[in-house]
């Protein structure tokens, strides 16, 4: 069992009271309990990104040093967004408070805090909308569910809009498709207008803006990192892979989240890509400028999404590639699939993607010209283009976590499962209500995956963790596969806490283990350097 500083033990944490307080929610002020909120963004990051009102402040202090005309700023911000987003306007008006969303949120299930019911999270903003933008709210006030905009409301927004991972599970169940992610995203934009943000989202955004990736890895360091992976791969497989970087005239630009360069187990997935592309003899390139597929702009503002995402098409154009291939990432794919072309397209300088190995036309990506690596690899396997030895993964009993964004923004369910089933022999899905479109979040997405917020993450991780535990007990599952860099970071403590003994893996890590490469030596270890077969103890 992991000993995380300040986090109660599971037995303690499980004493969840789902009974709402006697007092109404409007009369219950927010309480910034350590372990359940994120630290504010450093002013330097606001400055790098030209965001207003950079300052040092603290959520636990009474005075948040709001700008003098803060109220006017917020109200103008709401008015502007009502006129720009039909989603926002309709979602402010049509909720009937049926409560179907209430127990769909992992943060509500793990905390019992009624303001974590998606309906109430939205009401936090809706109540202000009613007061300021509807006749009934103006006249009837509280009776119409309206309330005054005060600094206490701003504090509440900060707390609860950063207790939402924008996973969109609630919007699957809502009879009108009300999407809390829209409300959270706009709520966060309003907070940024007042200079209020969280550092764990804004610092990566600032770094990504300047260096091309969230981690601030500079070009030469990125090259060193990839070379280092090549060394490791050579030790394990006996094959030396090439690493083309910023190569003009490559056919394909490959973009993946920077988490894959940085920390285990993401690094093994990165090695998996290298092995696969080498084996295919793919004419592709990495980019140091577009060295980030993820986009923490998504957790900041719509404008920031566009500012950070612009690099991908710009780099594809500069390098003169034909199309773009994207790695295993969650929110990256929400941005690529639902925002990129609209924001930074049209990508008319690229060609409609065709697999150079199988000749398959990726018709579903013909406008955006960016293909998900799971679509690419599934197609390779289907056409027998890879020699695979799944027995090399025999010690693994695998389950698969559908990451929120690829699931509910794209619907990419079968491709990853097809790949997994071809590279390992023991695969078991978690219970139906916890996978695919009903998948539960890792509770660390949308900028919340930081250490200071660990208790809330583990609370929110309860439904996912419990489903993992279920297959662990039933099928002896010991590996949780996922195709998301945030997952590869956040599911690790989640499993240590709720399903100890289960390790996290990317899919291309398992693929590279099974991949029989030309000229390889006999494999003794997997990419982690661990023996292929389980050692008898």
């Amino acid at each position: 069992m992991s000993e995380l500083a300040g986090v109660p033990k599971p037995e303690e944490l499980l004493k969840i009271d789902y009974q709402p307080p006697r007092k109404g929610w409007m009369d219950t002020p927010v309480n910034f309990k350590p372990g359940t909120y994120c630290y504010p963004a450093a002013s330097k990051n606001h400055k790098i990104l030209d965001l207003p009102f950079p300052r040092e402040w603290s959520p636990t202090e009474k005075d948040w040093k709001l700008p003098e005309n803060w109220k006017e700023i917020v109200l103008n911000g709401i008015a502007e967004r009502l006129s720009k987003y039909r989603s926002f306007k309709v979602f402010m008006d049509i909720c009937v408070r049926c409560g179907a969303c209430a127990d769909k949120c992992h943060f509500f299930l793990g905390s019992g805090d009624p303001k974590n019911m998606p309906v109430l999270r939205a009401e936090l903003l809706r109540s202000i909308y009613r007061k300021e933008f509807t006749a009934a709210g103006k006249v009837l006030g509280k009776l119409a569910g309206a309330r005054e905009l005060t600094p206490a409301v701003i504090k509440e927004w900060f707390y609860y809009f950063y207790q939402c991972t924008e996973c969109r599970r609630c919007s699957v169940f809502c009879p009108y498709g009300i999407d809390t992610a829209e409300i959270t995203m706009i709520g966060r934009e309003l907070l940024y207008l007042l200079g209020l943000g969280i550092n764990w989202a804004l610092e990566p955004a600032a770094k990504c803006f300047m260096t091309g990736n969230h981690l601030g890895i500079q070009p030469h360091t990125l090259k060193d990192t990839l070379d280092f992976f090549a060394d490791d791969l050579e030790d394990i497989t006996g094959v030396r892979v090439d690493i083309p970087i910023n190569k003009k005239g490559a056919d394909i630009l490959f973009v993946t989240p920077s988490g894959d360069y940085f920390a285990d187990p993401g690094t093994y997935t990165c090695m998996g890509y290298l092995a696969l592309f080498h084996e295919l003899g793919l004419n592709y390139t990495w980019s140091t400028y577009a060295s980030e597929g993820g986009n923490f702009g998504l957790f900041t503002s719509h404008e920031m999404i566009k500012r950070l995402n612009a690099k991908i098409y710009a780099e594809a154009k500069r390098l003169g590639v034909k199309w773009i291939l994207g790695g295993e990432c969650g929110h990256m794919w929400r941005v690529i699939h639902q925002y990129m072309d609209t924001m930074n397209g049209p990508a008319d300088f690229l060609e409609e993607p065709v697999s150079p190995i199988t000749g398959t036309k990726f018709e579903n990506a013909k406008a955006t010209k960016m293909v998900h690596i799971m679509e690419f690899t599934a197609d390779l396997i289907k056409h027998n283009k890879l020699k695979l030895d799944p027995s090399r993964n025999d010690k693994l009993k695998v389950t698969f976590h559908d990451s929120c964004n690829p699931a509910r923004a794209m619907g990419i369910f079968e491709e990853p499962r097809y790949v997994i089933k071809n590279v390992c022999k023991h695969f078991y899905d978690m219970p139906e209500n916890t996978i695919k479109e009903k998948t539960f979040c890792c509770a660390g997405g949308a900028g919340l995956g930081n250490d200071e917020n660990m208790e809330m993450r583990l609370r929110g991780g309860l439904p996912r963790g419990n489903a993992v535990k279920y297959v662990q007990e039933k099928h002896k599952v010991n590996r949780l596969a996922c195709m998301c860099a945030i997952d590869r970071a956040t599911l690790v403590p989640l499993c240590d806490y709720w399903a100890p003994g289960v390790q996290v893996t990317g899919i291309h890590e398992m693929l590279a283990n099974a991949l029989v490469m030309k000229g390889e030596k006999e494999r003794e270890t997997d990419l982690r350097g661990e023996p292929l077969k389980e050692v008898e103890e």
Binding site: F91, D179, F209, P219, H220, G411
Partner: protein, 330 residues
Amino acid sequence: MSIMFPLAIILLLLLLVVGGVSYAHLENVFGIFIPYLALAIFLMGFIYRILSWAKSPVPFRITTVCGQEKSLDWIKANRLESPFTTLDVIKRMALEVLLFRSLFRNTNTELKEGPKVIHWSAKWLWLAGLAFHWALLIILLRHLRFFIEPVPFAVDLIDRLDTLFAIGVPALCLTDVVIVAAITHLFLRRVLVPKIRYISLPADYFPLFLLLSIIGSGMLMRHIYKVDLIKVKELALSLVSFRPVIPEGIGVIFYVHLFFVCLLIAYFPFSKLMHLGGVFLSPTRNLANNNRAKRHTNPWNYPVKVHTYAEYEDEFREKMKTAAIPVDKE
């Protein structure tokens, strides 16, 4: 508070209409003026709300996808839950609007000893919601008999099917039973389930009470305080032909029924009842999941400040050259 306030309003309004008709003899007001006014408010309000929503653009295609995407030929796409074409979207919306597809997915999650997080299938809300809305629709269609002469065959058929079991004279309508049961369920869950009670506003109880008042007065009129239906139809026909005449002696219960109906439709555009229109405009449901195949444009897309490759290379050129990474400017 959330319950008592709307209840008090309903009682006050009841007194108003009973007093107005029985003592002040304001049949003209309650039988002609208010119905016209309410209808005008409803039509104008409804159109205004739809237009005001429609005025805001849909900048991004943010479909909530609930099924397998269309990608490779050999993977079967779920075209209803992940629509790819407009026709798919129409089918998805039809399923949503006519059968409440999303609500049908509902689960009830419980934390049990173990710990075990258990997700039960929970269809009661779906059933009550669907029963209520369909019963209401049939009741509305049934009422067309008062507005059209001769009564169309279809309306007559609905009437006959609705009274199939012929309990009592006049026969009890199935839809009346269903709708009362459904509303009672919706009301009770709001009061009895703590988390639903916690989120409920007066604006959630008011329409329930209003509907119960309408149905209650309607059933009283049909089964107990019987009114002269010929005269009711005379009034209805005179209203729709814009030559309104109040027939003598219809009975106050009719005016109660009519007044509450007027309240409901006048209240409609300013309330959550507008979900009727809003569901069609919900961008997570009414857009296809074909984002990468077909470009979606944002009418207010504007240029933003970016960090260009040239600026990036200027900063890192020496380091890149040392690491043998190709650069644009030597």
